[in-house]
Symmetry: C2
Subunit: 222 residues, 2 copies
Amino acid sequence: MAKKVFSEHDIKALPQRVRANFVNSLSGFKSANLVGTQSTHGVHNLATISSAFHIGASPPLMGMIMRPHTVVRDTLENIKQTGVYTINHVHHSFVKQAHHCSARFGSDISEFDAVGLTAQPSSKIAAPYVAESFVKIGLELEQISLIELNKTEMLIGKIVEVIFHDEHLLEDGYLDIESSGSVAVSGLDSYHSTKRLARFSYAKSDIEPSVVPVSASSGTKS
Amino acid sequence: MAKKVFSEHDIKALPQRVRANFVNSLSGFKSANLVGTQSTHGVHNLATISSAFHIGASPPLMGMIMRPHTVVRDTLENIKQTGVYTINHVHHSFVKQAHHCSARFGSDISEFDAVGLTAQPSSKIAAPYVAESFVKIGLELEQISLIELNKTEMLIGKIVEVIFHDEHLLEDGYLDIESSGSVAVSGLDSYHSTKRLARFSYAKSDIEPSVVPVSASSGTKS
């Protein structure tokens, strides 16, 4: 195996699409989610997002990065107008439909209908869930900040509702998103299922981490 | 399968550790990285990070979320002092060592030595790489912003160097991080290898995405 070193200059010199593929691969595996929103005219929208990330548990906050004036413009506009959105884990059974949602559809088109997924209304917020997803999260927008360095926007939402399957929640609060069929993304367009290597105990400096058993049937706390 | 709904109130009512496990599972699969830094006294530091995320390709920017006054305090301090750090993909062969780096070691201890990983100096920046990692990234700090909502800090770095293996880079710029043995994280402590489901073509509204072949031997552009 030959080792390769790319400098900042080498990256800059890559053709735009090649550079996008390369740099998008570097952060590592990413979450695969669909963002559900609704326009003020009631049109549903669904966008592919690989940039959702955990910010904190108390309060429960999730972030995502969006570039204005791109294919996510309707999603961004709907969130700004309604203040709410859903994040739905992409399940391995609908990766192709999920990727299709990254195409540019007209503002009057529901991506749910266009790609063949089912909009499921929320009793809590004015944004649709993806019925086929096994982990559905409802959020209220808390903050939008412009990242001046590249003019992208960071949205932070507070989690107000989570819909999942009882059997995937372990006693200690861990939601087994592998058992729930959630997938990971690499680069811009590669979807991956996962296989657990190990779950480890809380790390302490003076002792090697030990493996924690994961049993899907260990039930829930509540 | 019984469907379960957690409201904002239900999440808030969970014991702290349970809530942390639960909410950390919600964003989906996360990148597994080790952040390498060096103190002004020359002591190496290595921290487990699952919050690295892609911000943009031009310029190549990566973000990460850190909570001050926690186990990452040395990392944060080193980055503020030196302005540089490395991000190294966790390879499946050293997940236990990587997790061990999330323990609280003294400021005068090198986690490299403590957990059994090898510090590899960079010719470009004053921060160590993890020799055992197959994807190593050198960054210069561009920005630190406080997220007021929960007092975490978002660091944004510009990628100035990438070290990888030639055979993992495809012609179109996609770095095959599955072939490079990179792993994903879920929750706070679960590590997963991946299996590609498909790589899809650039999505267009009027046509279903098609599968793009991934060949590890397709070589590089340069």
